[in-house]
Protein backbone atom coordinates (compact mmCIF):
# COMPACT_ATOMS: atom_id res chain seq x y z
CA UNK A 1 0.00 0.00 0.00
CA UNK A 2 2.84 2.32 0.94
CA UNK A 3 4.48 1.64 -2.41
CA UNK A 4 1.18 2.25 -4.18
CA UNK A 5 0.83 5.67 -2.56
CA UNK A 6 4.46 6.55 -3.31
CA UNK A 7 4.12 5.52 -6.95
CA UNK A 8 0.79 7.35 -7.24
CA UNK A 9 2.16 10.60 -5.77
CA UNK A 10 5.25 10.43 -7.97
CA UNK A 11 3.10 10.09 -11.07
CA UNK A 12 0.83 12.88 -9.87
CA UNK A 13 3.80 15.18 -9.24
CA UNK A 14 5.14 14.52 -12.73
CA UNK A 15 1.68 15.16 -14.19
CA UNK A 16 1.42 18.52 -12.39
CA UNK A 17 4.93 19.44 -13.54
CA UNK A 18 4.13 18.59 -17.14
CA UNK A 19 0.85 20.53 -17.05
CA UNK A 20 2.63 23.53 -15.51
CA UNK A 21 5.29 23.45 -18.25
CA UNK A 22 2.75 23.10 -21.04
CA UNK A 23 0.65 25.98 -19.69
CA UNK A 24 3.79 28.11 -19.33
CA UNK A 25 4.87 27.31 -22.88
CA UNK A 26 1.45 28.20 -24.26
CA UNK A 27 1.41 31.39 -22.20
CA UNK A 28 4.75 32.45 -23.58
CA UNK A 29 4.05 31.34 -27.19
CA UNK A 30 2.35 34.63 -27.90
CA UNK A 31 5.75 36.29 -27.51
CA UNK A 32 6.86 34.50 -30.69
CA UNK A 33 4.46 36.49 -32.88
CA UNK A 34 6.65 38.51 -35.25
CA UNK A 35 6.01 42.20 -34.64
CA UNK A 36 3.07 43.18 -32.52
CA UNK A 37 -0.26 41.31 -32.05
CA UNK A 38 -2.00 44.71 -32.05
CA UNK A 39 -0.59 45.54 -35.49
CA UNK A 40 -1.69 42.13 -36.78
CA UNK A 41 -5.24 42.66 -35.52
CA UNK A 42 -5.75 46.40 -36.13
CA UNK A 43 -3.81 46.66 -39.38
CA UNK A 44 -0.98 48.98 -40.33
CA UNK A 45 -3.22 52.05 -40.52
CA UNK A 46 -4.01 51.90 -36.80
CA UNK A 47 -3.14 55.06 -34.86
CA UNK A 48 -0.78 54.85 -31.85
CA UNK A 49 -3.79 55.59 -29.59
CA UNK A 50 -5.72 52.64 -31.01
CA UNK A 51 -2.71 50.37 -30.53
CA UNK A 52 -2.24 51.62 -26.95
CA UNK A 53 -5.94 51.08 -26.16
CA UNK A 54 -5.84 47.58 -27.61
CA UNK A 55 -2.72 46.68 -25.65
CA UNK A 56 -4.16 48.05 -22.42
CA UNK A 57 -7.47 46.25 -22.88
CA UNK A 58 -5.81 42.89 -23.40
CA UNK A 59 -3.05 43.40 -20.84
CA UNK A 60 -0.39 43.51 -23.57
CA UNK A 61 1.08 46.74 -22.19
CA UNK A 62 2.66 44.85 -19.31
CA UNK A 63 6.01 43.07 -19.58
CA UNK A 64 5.86 39.46 -20.76
CA UNK A 65 7.64 37.81 -17.84
CA UNK A 66 9.22 38.47 -14.45
CA UNK A 67 12.37 39.75 -16.14
CA UNK A 68 13.59 40.61 -19.59
CA UNK A 69 16.96 41.11 -21.22
CA UNK A 70 17.91 44.46 -22.73
CA UNK A 71 21.25 44.65 -24.51
CA UNK A 72 22.79 47.58 -22.62
CA UNK A 73 20.89 47.40 -19.35
CA UNK A 74 21.32 43.63 -19.03
CA UNK A 75 18.61 41.73 -17.18
CA UNK A 76 15.78 43.97 -15.99
CA UNK A 77 13.48 42.79 -13.19
CA UNK A 78 9.77 43.61 -13.66
CA UNK A 79 8.21 41.98 -10.59
CA UNK A 80 4.88 40.19 -10.42
CA UNK A 81 2.96 42.64 -12.62
CA UNK A 82 3.50 40.77 -15.85
CA UNK A 83 1.50 38.90 -18.50
CA UNK A 84 2.68 35.48 -17.36
CA UNK A 85 1.26 35.99 -13.86
CA UNK A 86 -1.92 37.56 -15.30
CA UNK A 87 -2.54 34.57 -17.58
CA UNK A 88 -1.95 32.12 -14.74
CA UNK A 89 -4.28 34.05 -12.45
CA UNK A 90 -6.89 33.93 -15.20
CA UNK A 91 -6.50 30.19 -15.72
CA UNK A 92 -6.84 29.49 -12.00
CA UNK A 93 -10.06 31.49 -11.88
CA UNK A 94 -11.46 29.99 -15.09
CA UNK A 95 -10.72 32.99 -17.30
CA UNK A 96 -8.75 32.46 -20.51
CA UNK A 97 -8.98 36.11 -21.51
CA UNK A 98 -11.12 37.74 -24.19
CA UNK A 99 -10.94 37.13 -27.91
CA UNK A 100 -8.84 39.77 -29.72
CA UNK A 101 -11.42 39.82 -32.50
CA UNK A 102 -14.86 39.43 -30.96
CA UNK A 103 -14.11 40.44 -27.37
CA UNK A 104 -16.05 37.38 -26.16
CA UNK A 105 -14.57 35.32 -23.31
CA UNK A 106 -12.35 32.66 -24.91
CA UNK A 107 -13.57 30.06 -22.41
CA UNK A 108 -17.19 30.52 -23.57
CA UNK A 109 -16.15 30.11 -27.21
CA UNK A 110 -14.24 26.93 -26.35
CA UNK A 111 -17.02 25.44 -24.22
CA UNK A 112 -19.45 25.86 -27.11
CA UNK A 113 -17.22 23.88 -29.44
CA UNK A 114 -15.90 21.29 -27.01
CA UNK A 115 -18.90 18.87 -26.99
CA UNK A 116 -18.92 18.30 -30.81
CA UNK A 117 -15.22 17.37 -30.68
CA UNK A 118 -15.73 14.94 -27.78
CA UNK A 119 -18.74 13.48 -29.60
CA UNK A 120 -16.64 12.97 -32.73
CA UNK A 121 -13.77 11.38 -30.79
CA UNK A 122 -16.09 8.97 -28.98
CA UNK A 123 -17.86 8.02 -32.22
CA UNK A 124 -14.47 7.41 -33.85
CA UNK A 125 -13.52 5.18 -30.94
CA UNK A 126 -16.74 3.14 -31.21
CA UNK A 127 -16.25 2.65 -34.94
CA UNK A 128 -12.62 1.64 -34.41
CA UNK A 129 -13.66 -1.00 -31.85
CA UNK A 130 -16.39 -2.25 -34.19
CA UNK A 131 -13.85 -2.78 -36.97
CA UNK A 132 -10.89 -3.98 -34.89
CA UNK A 133 -12.49 -6.66 -32.72
CA UNK A 134 -13.81 -8.99 -35.44
CA UNK A 135 -10.85 -8.32 -37.75
CA UNK A 136 -8.25 -8.87 -35.00
CA UNK A 137 -9.94 -12.08 -33.77
CA UNK A 138 -10.17 -13.42 -37.34
CA UNK A 139 -6.51 -12.65 -37.97
CA UNK A 140 -5.36 -14.06 -34.61
CA UNK A 141 -7.31 -17.31 -34.89
CA UNK A 142 -6.13 -17.85 -38.48
CA UNK A 143 -2.45 -16.98 -37.95
CA UNK A 144 -0.37 -16.56 -41.14
CA UNK A 145 -3.38 -17.34 -43.33
CA UNK A 146 -4.65 -15.21 -46.18
CA UNK A 147 -7.14 -13.57 -43.78
CA UNK A 148 -4.33 -12.76 -41.33
CA UNK A 149 -2.05 -11.31 -43.99
CA UNK A 150 -4.82 -9.25 -45.57
CA UNK A 151 -5.97 -7.88 -42.22
CA UNK A 152 -2.37 -7.00 -41.32
CA UNK A 153 -2.05 -5.21 -44.64
CA UNK A 154 -5.32 -3.33 -44.11
CA UNK A 155 -4.12 -2.41 -40.62
CA UNK A 156 -0.84 -1.09 -42.02
CA UNK A 157 -2.77 0.95 -44.59
CA UNK A 158 -4.94 2.37 -41.80
CA UNK A 159 -1.86 3.44 -39.87
CA UNK A 160 0.01 4.84 -42.86
CA UNK A 161 -2.76 6.64 -44.69
CA UNK A 162 -3.17 10.14 -43.32
CA UNK A 163 -6.62 11.36 -42.35
CA UNK A 164 -6.49 14.05 -45.02
CA UNK A 165 -6.17 11.31 -47.64
CA UNK A 166 -8.76 8.93 -46.15
CA UNK A 167 -11.29 11.73 -45.54
CA UNK A 168 -11.54 13.16 -49.08
CA UNK A 169 -11.57 9.61 -50.50
CA UNK A 170 -14.52 8.69 -48.27
CA UNK A 171 -16.25 11.90 -49.33
CA UNK A 172 -15.62 11.00 -52.97
CA UNK A 173 -17.03 7.48 -52.62
CA UNK A 174 -19.90 7.96 -50.15
CA UNK A 175 -20.95 11.56 -50.73
CA UNK A 176 -20.08 12.29 -54.35
CA UNK A 177 -20.56 8.89 -56.02
CA UNK A 178 -23.05 6.99 -53.82
CA UNK A 179 -24.70 10.09 -52.29
CA UNK A 180 -25.31 8.28 -48.99
CA UNK A 181 -24.03 11.09 -46.79
CA UNK A 182 -23.56 14.82 -47.09
CA UNK A 183 -19.93 15.79 -47.69
CA UNK A 184 -19.69 18.30 -44.84
CA UNK A 185 -21.56 19.68 -41.84
CA UNK A 186 -23.39 18.10 -38.94
CA UNK A 187 -27.07 18.86 -39.63
CA UNK A 188 -28.25 15.22 -39.64
CA UNK A 189 -27.41 12.51 -37.11
CA UNK A 190 -25.77 10.32 -39.79
CA UNK A 191 -23.39 13.13 -40.74
CA UNK A 192 -21.06 11.97 -37.98
CA UNK A 193 -20.31 8.64 -39.71
CA UNK A 194 -17.80 9.79 -42.36
CA UNK A 195 -15.78 12.03 -40.00
CA UNK A 196 -15.81 9.33 -37.31
CA UNK A 197 -14.59 6.65 -39.74
CA UNK A 198 -11.88 9.01 -40.98
CA UNK A 199 -10.71 9.85 -37.47
CA UNK A 200 -11.01 6.27 -36.22
CA UNK A 201 -9.19 4.58 -39.13
CA UNK A 202 -5.73 4.74 -37.60
CA UNK A 203 -7.01 3.65 -34.18
CA UNK A 204 -8.86 0.69 -35.69
CA UNK A 205 -5.62 -0.36 -37.38
CA UNK A 206 -3.65 -0.15 -34.12
CA UNK A 207 -6.38 -2.03 -32.24
CA UNK A 208 -6.59 -4.76 -34.91
CA UNK A 209 -2.87 -5.42 -34.49
CA UNK A 210 -3.21 -5.49 -30.71
CA UNK A 211 -6.25 -7.79 -30.67
CA UNK A 212 -4.46 -10.10 -33.11
CA UNK A 213 -1.31 -10.46 -31.03
CA UNK A 214 -3.34 -10.70 -27.78
CA UNK A 215 -5.44 -13.52 -29.23
CA UNK A 216 -2.35 -15.37 -30.48
CA UNK A 217 -0.68 -15.02 -27.08
CA UNK A 218 -3.73 -16.15 -25.12
CA UNK A 219 -4.39 -19.11 -27.46
CA UNK A 220 -1.09 -20.61 -26.29
CA UNK A 221 -2.11 -20.55 -22.58
CA UNK A 222 -2.92 -23.61 -20.53
CA UNK A 223 -6.49 -22.59 -19.78
CA UNK A 224 -7.27 -22.65 -23.49
CA UNK A 225 -6.06 -26.23 -23.72
CA UNK A 226 -8.24 -27.07 -20.71
CA UNK A 227 -11.26 -25.39 -22.27
CA UNK A 228 -10.71 -27.28 -25.52
CA UNK A 229 -10.22 -30.54 -23.61
CA UNK A 230 -13.56 -29.95 -21.89
CA UNK A 231 -15.05 -30.10 -25.36
CA UNK A 232 -15.98 -26.40 -25.72
CA UNK A 233 -16.52 -25.24 -29.27
CA UNK A 234 -13.70 -23.14 -30.75
CA UNK A 235 -16.11 -20.21 -30.93
CA UNK A 236 -16.79 -20.39 -27.20
CA UNK A 237 -13.07 -20.81 -26.44
CA UNK A 238 -12.26 -17.65 -28.39
CA UNK A 239 -15.16 -15.42 -27.43
CA UNK A 240 -15.75 -16.54 -23.81
CA UNK A 241 -12.19 -17.17 -22.65
CA UNK A 242 -9.50 -15.80 -24.94
CA UNK A 243 -11.10 -12.47 -25.72
CA UNK A 244 -11.93 -11.78 -22.08
CA UNK A 245 -8.26 -11.98 -21.10
CA UNK A 246 -6.88 -10.62 -24.32
CA UNK A 247 -8.86 -7.40 -24.08
CA UNK A 248 -7.15 -6.02 -20.96
CA UNK A 249 -4.28 -4.29 -22.83
CA UNK A 250 -6.70 -3.18 -25.55
CA UNK A 251 -8.88 -1.35 -23.03
CA UNK A 252 -5.84 0.54 -21.76
CA UNK A 253 -4.88 1.59 -25.25
CA UNK A 254 -8.37 2.97 -25.73
CA UNK A 255 -7.89 5.34 -22.81
CA UNK A 256 -4.55 6.50 -24.16
CA UNK A 257 -5.96 6.94 -27.63
CA UNK A 258 -8.78 9.24 -26.57
CA UNK A 259 -6.22 12.02 -26.23
CA UNK A 260 -4.71 11.20 -29.62
CA UNK A 261 -8.17 11.33 -31.19
CA UNK A 262 -8.86 14.74 -29.66
CA UNK A 263 -5.65 16.14 -31.12
CA UNK A 264 -6.16 14.35 -34.44
CA UNK A 265 -9.67 15.75 -34.72
CA UNK A 266 -8.21 19.08 -35.92
CA UNK A 267 -7.61 17.74 -39.45
CA UNK A 268 -10.84 15.72 -39.58
CA UNK A 269 -12.87 18.74 -38.49
CA UNK A 270 -11.33 20.78 -41.29
CA UNK A 271 -12.11 18.11 -43.92
CA UNK A 272 -15.76 17.82 -42.90
CA UNK A 273 -16.32 21.39 -41.61
CA UNK A 274 -17.22 19.79 -38.27
CA UNK A 275 -17.90 22.67 -35.87
CA UNK A 276 -15.58 21.52 -33.10
CA UNK A 277 -12.60 22.83 -31.21
CA UNK A 278 -10.16 22.07 -34.04
CA UNK A 279 -12.07 24.18 -36.53
CA UNK A 280 -12.35 26.98 -33.95
CA UNK A 281 -8.56 26.89 -33.57
CA UNK A 282 -7.91 26.84 -37.33
CA UNK A 283 -10.53 29.23 -38.68
CA UNK A 284 -11.37 31.68 -35.90
CA UNK A 285 -8.01 31.44 -34.14
CA UNK A 286 -5.15 31.01 -36.60
CA UNK A 287 -7.10 32.15 -39.68
CA UNK A 288 -8.09 35.47 -38.08
CA UNK A 289 -4.88 35.86 -36.07
CA UNK A 290 -6.84 35.83 -32.84
CA UNK A 291 -3.83 34.83 -30.76
CA UNK A 292 -5.72 34.81 -27.45
CA UNK A 293 -8.15 32.28 -28.89
CA UNK A 294 -5.27 30.19 -30.30
CA UNK A 295 -3.67 30.16 -26.85
CA UNK A 296 -6.92 29.01 -25.25
CA UNK A 297 -7.58 26.26 -27.82
CA UNK A 298 -4.03 24.89 -27.71
CA UNK A 299 -4.15 24.95 -23.93
CA UNK A 300 -7.47 23.13 -23.63
CA UNK A 301 -6.64 20.49 -26.28
CA UNK A 302 -3.21 19.74 -24.85
CA UNK A 303 -4.32 19.65 -21.21
CA UNK A 304 -7.22 17.33 -22.13
CA UNK A 305 -4.75 15.13 -23.99
CA UNK A 306 -2.31 15.03 -21.08
CA UNK A 307 -5.02 14.39 -18.50
CA UNK A 308 -6.62 11.60 -20.56
CA UNK A 309 -3.23 9.92 -20.97
CA UNK A 310 -2.10 10.34 -17.40
CA UNK A 311 -5.37 9.24 -15.85
CA UNK A 312 -5.41 6.06 -17.94
CA UNK A 313 -1.82 5.42 -16.97
CA UNK A 314 -2.47 6.04 -13.27
CA UNK A 315 -5.58 3.86 -13.16
CA UNK A 316 -3.79 1.11 -15.05
CA UNK A 317 -0.78 1.19 -12.70
CA UNK A 318 -3.12 1.15 -9.72
CA UNK A 319 -5.02 -1.86 -11.04
CA UNK A 320 -2.25 -3.97 -12.50
CA UNK A 321 0.66 -4.69 -10.15
CA UNK A 322 2.79 -6.13 -12.98
CA UNK A 323 3.04 -2.72 -14.64
CA UNK A 324 3.90 -1.02 -11.37
CA UNK A 325 6.69 -3.36 -10.53
CA UNK A 326 8.21 -3.45 -13.99
Amino acid sequence: MKYKIYSFSKQLALLLLVVWTVVSLVTLLIELVPGDPAAAILGEQATPEQVANFNEKHGLDKPAFFFSYHGEKGIVWHGAKNRYVDYWQGILTGDLGNSFRTDRPVLDMILERYPPTIKLALAAMLIAIGIALPLGVLAGTNKNSLIDNSSSFIALLGISLPTFVIGPFLVYIFAVKLRWFSPTGSANPEDIILPAVTLGAALSAILTRMVRSSVIEELGEDYVRTARAKGLSERKVVYKHVLKNGLIPVVTILGLQLGVLLAGAIITEKIFSWQGLGLLLLEDGIGKRDYRLVQGCVLVISVTYILANSLTDLVYRWLDPRIRLS
Binding site: L14, L17, V18, T21, V22, V26, L29, I30, L32, V33, P34, K143, L156, L157, I159, S160, L161, P162, F164, V165, G167, P168, F169, V171, Y172, A175, V176, P183, T184, S213, I216, G259, V260, L262, A263, G264, I266, I267, K270, I271, L281, L282, G285, I286, G287, Y291, V294, V298, I301, S302, Y305, I306, N309, S310
Partner: protein
Protein backbone atom coordinates in the same frame (compact mmCIF):
# COMPACT_ATOMS: atom_id res chain seq x y z
CA UNK B 1 14.31 -8.47 -44.05
CA UNK B 2 10.69 -9.15 -44.96
CA UNK B 3 9.27 -8.73 -48.44
CA UNK B 4 7.35 -5.56 -47.59
CA UNK B 5 10.61 -3.87 -46.58
CA UNK B 6 12.09 -4.56 -50.02
CA UNK B 7 8.95 -3.17 -51.65
CA UNK B 8 9.35 -0.14 -49.37
CA UNK B 9 12.98 0.33 -50.45
CA UNK B 10 12.00 0.09 -54.12
CA UNK B 11 9.16 2.62 -53.78
CA UNK B 12 11.29 5.00 -51.69
CA UNK B 13 14.08 4.74 -54.30
CA UNK B 14 11.62 5.71 -57.06
CA UNK B 15 10.51 8.77 -55.06
CA UNK B 16 14.07 9.78 -54.18
CA UNK B 17 15.15 9.54 -57.83
CA UNK B 18 12.02 11.45 -58.85
CA UNK B 19 12.91 14.18 -56.37
CA UNK B 20 16.53 14.39 -57.57
CA UNK B 21 15.69 14.42 -61.28
CA UNK B 22 12.43 16.39 -60.94
CA UNK B 23 13.40 19.08 -63.49
CA UNK B 24 14.14 16.35 -66.07
CA UNK B 25 11.02 14.31 -65.35
CA UNK B 26 8.44 17.11 -65.09
CA UNK B 27 6.71 17.76 -68.41
CA UNK B 28 5.50 21.30 -67.64
CA UNK B 29 6.40 24.34 -65.55
CA UNK B 30 4.81 23.68 -62.12
CA UNK B 31 3.47 27.20 -61.73
CA UNK B 32 2.46 27.83 -65.36
CA UNK B 33 -1.28 28.44 -65.46
CA UNK B 34 -3.54 27.71 -68.40
CA UNK B 35 -7.06 28.88 -67.58
CA UNK B 36 -8.32 27.49 -70.88
CA UNK B 37 -7.47 23.97 -69.69
CA UNK B 38 -8.84 23.93 -66.12
CA UNK B 39 -9.61 20.50 -64.64
CA UNK B 40 -8.59 18.71 -67.85
CA UNK B 41 -8.78 14.92 -67.50
CA UNK B 42 -5.59 12.85 -67.78
CA UNK B 43 -4.37 12.78 -71.39
CA UNK B 44 -1.21 12.38 -73.48
CA UNK B 45 -0.49 16.10 -72.98
CA UNK B 46 -1.23 16.12 -69.22
CA UNK B 47 -0.60 12.61 -67.83
CA UNK B 48 -2.32 13.32 -64.50
CA UNK B 49 -4.66 16.03 -65.89
CA UNK B 50 -4.72 19.67 -64.76
CA UNK B 51 -5.92 21.49 -61.64
CA UNK B 52 -8.16 24.52 -60.95
CA UNK B 53 -5.66 26.89 -62.55
CA UNK B 54 -4.85 24.61 -65.47
CA UNK B 55 -1.49 23.62 -63.97
CA UNK B 56 -0.06 20.21 -64.89
CA UNK B 57 -0.78 17.82 -61.97
CA UNK B 58 1.96 15.34 -62.99
CA UNK B 59 4.68 17.97 -62.85
CA UNK B 60 3.35 19.25 -59.54
CA UNK B 61 3.31 15.76 -58.03
CA UNK B 62 6.91 15.24 -59.27
CA UNK B 63 8.11 18.49 -57.69
CA UNK B 64 6.00 17.71 -54.62
CA UNK B 65 8.28 14.69 -54.06
CA UNK B 66 11.20 17.10 -53.90
CA UNK B 67 9.54 19.29 -51.24
CA UNK B 68 8.39 16.32 -49.14
CA UNK B 69 11.71 14.52 -49.19
CA UNK B 70 13.72 17.71 -48.70
CA UNK B 71 11.72 18.58 -45.58
CA UNK B 72 11.80 14.94 -44.44
CA UNK B 73 15.55 14.57 -44.79
CA UNK B 74 16.41 17.90 -43.14
CA UNK B 75 14.03 17.19 -40.24
CA UNK B 76 15.37 13.65 -39.76
CA UNK B 77 19.03 14.76 -39.91
CA UNK B 78 18.64 17.74 -37.58
CA UNK B 79 16.35 16.07 -35.06
CA UNK B 80 18.38 12.85 -35.03
CA UNK B 81 21.61 14.76 -34.34
CA UNK B 82 20.01 16.86 -31.60
CA UNK B 83 18.15 13.87 -30.16
CA UNK B 84 21.22 11.62 -30.27
CA UNK B 85 23.38 14.11 -28.42
CA UNK B 86 20.78 14.84 -25.74
CA UNK B 87 19.86 11.16 -25.35
CA UNK B 88 23.51 10.11 -25.17
CA UNK B 89 24.27 12.76 -22.54
CA UNK B 90 21.26 11.64 -20.46
CA UNK B 91 22.15 7.97 -20.68
CA UNK B 92 25.89 8.37 -20.24
CA UNK B 93 26.00 10.78 -17.33
CA UNK B 94 22.92 9.42 -15.54
CA UNK B 95 22.18 10.93 -12.11
CA UNK B 96 20.53 14.35 -11.96
CA UNK B 97 21.37 15.12 -15.61
CA UNK B 98 19.32 12.08 -16.63
CA UNK B 99 16.58 12.93 -14.14
CA UNK B 100 16.13 16.40 -15.62
CA UNK B 101 16.43 15.31 -19.26
CA UNK B 102 14.58 12.01 -19.43
CA UNK B 103 12.48 12.34 -16.29
CA UNK B 104 11.22 15.83 -17.06
CA UNK B 105 12.06 17.29 -20.48
CA UNK B 106 11.42 14.11 -22.48
CA UNK B 107 8.14 13.65 -20.65
CA UNK B 108 7.00 17.18 -21.39
CA UNK B 109 7.65 16.75 -25.11
CA UNK B 110 6.08 13.29 -25.17
CA UNK B 111 3.05 14.50 -23.24
CA UNK B 112 2.29 17.25 -25.77
CA UNK B 113 0.39 16.06 -28.88
CA UNK B 114 3.07 16.49 -31.58
CA UNK B 115 0.97 17.90 -34.39
CA UNK B 116 -0.69 20.39 -32.04
CA UNK B 117 2.70 21.69 -30.88
CA UNK B 118 3.79 22.08 -34.51
CA UNK B 119 0.50 23.86 -35.33
CA UNK B 120 0.94 26.17 -32.34
CA UNK B 121 4.54 27.03 -33.25
CA UNK B 122 3.72 27.75 -36.89
CA UNK B 123 0.59 29.69 -35.88
CA UNK B 124 2.65 32.04 -33.73
CA UNK B 125 5.85 32.12 -35.80
CA UNK B 126 4.09 32.44 -39.17
CA UNK B 127 4.16 30.07 -42.17
CA UNK B 128 7.24 29.32 -44.28
CA UNK B 129 9.64 26.50 -45.09
CA UNK B 130 12.24 27.34 -42.41
CA UNK B 131 9.65 27.73 -39.66
CA UNK B 132 7.93 24.52 -40.72
CA UNK B 133 11.21 22.61 -40.50
CA UNK B 134 11.94 24.19 -37.11
CA UNK B 135 8.51 23.16 -35.79
CA UNK B 136 8.94 19.59 -37.04
CA UNK B 137 12.41 19.35 -35.46
CA UNK B 138 11.02 20.62 -32.15
CA UNK B 139 8.51 17.76 -32.11
CA UNK B 140 10.86 15.20 -33.68
CA UNK B 141 14.05 15.13 -31.59
CA UNK B 142 12.64 13.51 -28.48
CA UNK B 143 11.95 10.17 -30.23
CA UNK B 144 15.65 9.85 -31.10
CA UNK B 145 16.73 11.03 -27.66
CA UNK B 146 14.67 8.37 -25.93
CA UNK B 147 15.97 5.58 -28.16
CA UNK B 148 19.55 6.78 -27.78
CA UNK B 149 19.33 7.07 -24.01
CA UNK B 150 18.05 3.50 -23.76
CA UNK B 151 20.85 2.21 -25.97
CA UNK B 152 23.56 4.11 -24.13
CA UNK B 153 22.31 2.83 -20.76
CA UNK B 154 22.65 -0.70 -22.15
CA UNK B 155 25.93 -0.35 -23.99
CA UNK B 156 27.81 1.57 -21.30
CA UNK B 157 27.77 -1.50 -19.07
CA UNK B 158 29.46 -3.70 -21.68
CA UNK B 159 32.94 -5.02 -20.98
CA UNK B 160 34.64 -3.16 -23.81
CA UNK B 161 33.41 0.16 -22.41
CA UNK B 162 34.69 -0.75 -18.95
CA UNK B 163 37.99 -1.77 -20.58
CA UNK B 164 38.25 1.56 -22.40
CA UNK B 165 37.57 3.36 -19.12
CA UNK B 166 40.23 1.31 -17.34
CA UNK B 167 42.69 2.27 -20.08
CA UNK B 168 42.04 5.91 -19.21
CA UNK B 169 39.90 6.96 -22.20
CA UNK B 170 38.08 10.28 -21.70
CA UNK B 171 34.28 10.42 -21.39
CA UNK B 172 34.00 12.03 -24.84
CA UNK B 173 36.18 9.35 -26.41
CA UNK B 174 34.18 6.56 -24.76
CA UNK B 175 30.91 8.16 -25.82
CA UNK B 176 31.80 8.91 -29.44
CA UNK B 177 34.14 6.08 -30.41
CA UNK B 178 32.81 3.22 -28.32
CA UNK B 179 29.22 3.72 -27.26
CA UNK B 180 27.67 5.63 -30.19
CA UNK B 181 28.69 3.23 -33.00
CA UNK B 182 27.28 0.35 -30.96
CA UNK B 183 24.01 2.12 -30.24
CA UNK B 184 23.31 3.30 -33.77
CA UNK B 185 21.12 0.42 -35.06
CA UNK B 186 17.81 1.37 -33.43
CA UNK B 187 18.46 4.96 -34.50
CA UNK B 188 18.39 3.85 -38.13
CA UNK B 189 14.97 2.29 -37.54
CA UNK B 190 13.81 5.44 -35.78
CA UNK B 191 15.12 7.57 -38.67
CA UNK B 192 13.18 5.54 -41.22
CA UNK B 193 9.95 5.82 -39.24
CA UNK B 194 10.81 9.47 -38.52
CA UNK B 195 11.09 10.13 -42.25
CA UNK B 196 7.54 8.81 -42.74
CA UNK B 197 6.41 10.95 -39.80
CA UNK B 198 8.12 14.10 -41.10
CA UNK B 199 6.70 13.69 -44.62
CA UNK B 200 3.28 13.17 -43.09
CA UNK B 201 3.55 16.15 -40.73
CA UNK B 202 4.72 18.45 -43.54
CA UNK B 203 1.76 17.39 -45.67
CA UNK B 204 -0.62 17.74 -42.70
CA UNK B 205 0.53 21.26 -41.92
CA UNK B 206 0.41 22.21 -45.61
CA UNK B 207 -3.09 20.72 -45.79
CA UNK B 208 -4.10 22.92 -42.85
CA UNK B 209 -2.65 25.94 -44.65
CA UNK B 210 0.22 26.22 -42.17
CA UNK B 211 2.98 24.67 -44.23
CA UNK B 212 4.69 25.78 -47.38
CA UNK B 213 2.60 28.55 -48.92
CA UNK B 214 1.21 28.19 -52.48
CA UNK B 215 2.05 28.14 -55.35
CA UNK B 216 4.77 25.71 -54.18
CA UNK B 217 3.51 22.22 -55.08
CA UNK B 218 3.35 20.55 -51.65
CA UNK B 219 1.27 17.37 -51.73
CA UNK B 220 -0.68 18.49 -48.66
CA UNK B 221 -1.57 21.82 -50.29
CA UNK B 222 -2.60 20.01 -53.50
CA UNK B 223 -4.98 17.75 -51.55
CA UNK B 224 -6.39 20.76 -49.70
CA UNK B 225 -7.09 22.52 -53.00
CA UNK B 226 -8.78 19.42 -54.43
CA UNK B 227 -11.24 18.46 -51.72
CA UNK B 228 -14.24 20.65 -52.62
CA UNK B 229 -17.44 18.81 -53.61
CA UNK B 230 -17.50 20.23 -57.14
CA UNK B 231 -13.88 19.38 -57.79
CA UNK B 232 -14.34 15.84 -56.47
CA UNK B 233 -17.43 15.51 -58.66
CA UNK B 234 -15.92 16.88 -61.86
CA UNK B 235 -12.20 16.23 -61.56
CA UNK B 236 -11.33 13.62 -58.90
CA UNK B 237 -7.89 13.12 -60.48
CA UNK B 238 -6.78 16.40 -58.90
CA UNK B 239 -7.16 14.65 -55.52
CA UNK B 240 -6.11 11.12 -56.47
CA UNK B 241 -2.57 11.62 -57.68
CA UNK B 242 -1.10 13.66 -54.81
CA UNK B 243 -3.03 11.45 -52.35
CA UNK B 244 -1.57 8.29 -53.87
CA UNK B 245 1.90 9.85 -53.89
CA UNK B 246 1.82 10.72 -50.20
CA UNK B 247 0.25 7.40 -49.21
CA UNK B 248 2.93 5.46 -51.12
CA UNK B 249 5.79 7.50 -49.68
CA UNK B 250 4.60 7.16 -46.10
CA UNK B 251 3.86 3.45 -46.55
CA UNK B 252 7.29 2.88 -48.11
CA UNK B 253 9.21 4.44 -45.20
CA UNK B 254 6.98 2.66 -42.66
CA UNK B 255 7.63 -0.67 -44.43
CA UNK B 256 11.37 0.01 -44.35
CA UNK B 257 11.28 0.98 -40.66
CA UNK B 258 9.20 -2.05 -39.64
CA UNK B 259 11.34 -4.38 -41.75
CA UNK B 260 14.58 -3.01 -40.29
CA UNK B 261 13.24 -3.28 -36.77
CA UNK B 262 12.36 -6.93 -37.27
CA UNK B 263 15.67 -7.59 -38.98
CA UNK B 264 17.75 -5.96 -36.27
CA UNK B 265 15.77 -7.37 -33.36
CA UNK B 266 14.88 -11.04 -33.79
CA UNK B 267 12.64 -10.86 -30.71
CA UNK B 268 10.32 -8.54 -32.62
CA UNK B 269 10.00 -10.92 -35.56
CA UNK B 270 6.42 -11.69 -36.36
CA UNK B 271 5.02 -14.50 -34.32
Amino acid sequence: MNRLAYIGIAVAAVFILTAIFAPLIATHDVTAQNLMARYAAPSAEHWFGTDALGRDVFSRVVFGARISLEVGIIVVVVSSIVGTIIGAVAGFYGGWVDKILSGYIFNVFLAFPGLLLAIALVAFLGAGLGKLILALCVIGWVGYARVMRGQVLKVREYDFVQAARALGASNMRILFTHILPNAIQPLIVQASLGMAGAVLSEASLSFLGLGIPPPAPSWGTMIEEARGFDILYNAPHVLFFPAIAIALTVLAFNFIGDGLREYLDPKQRRR
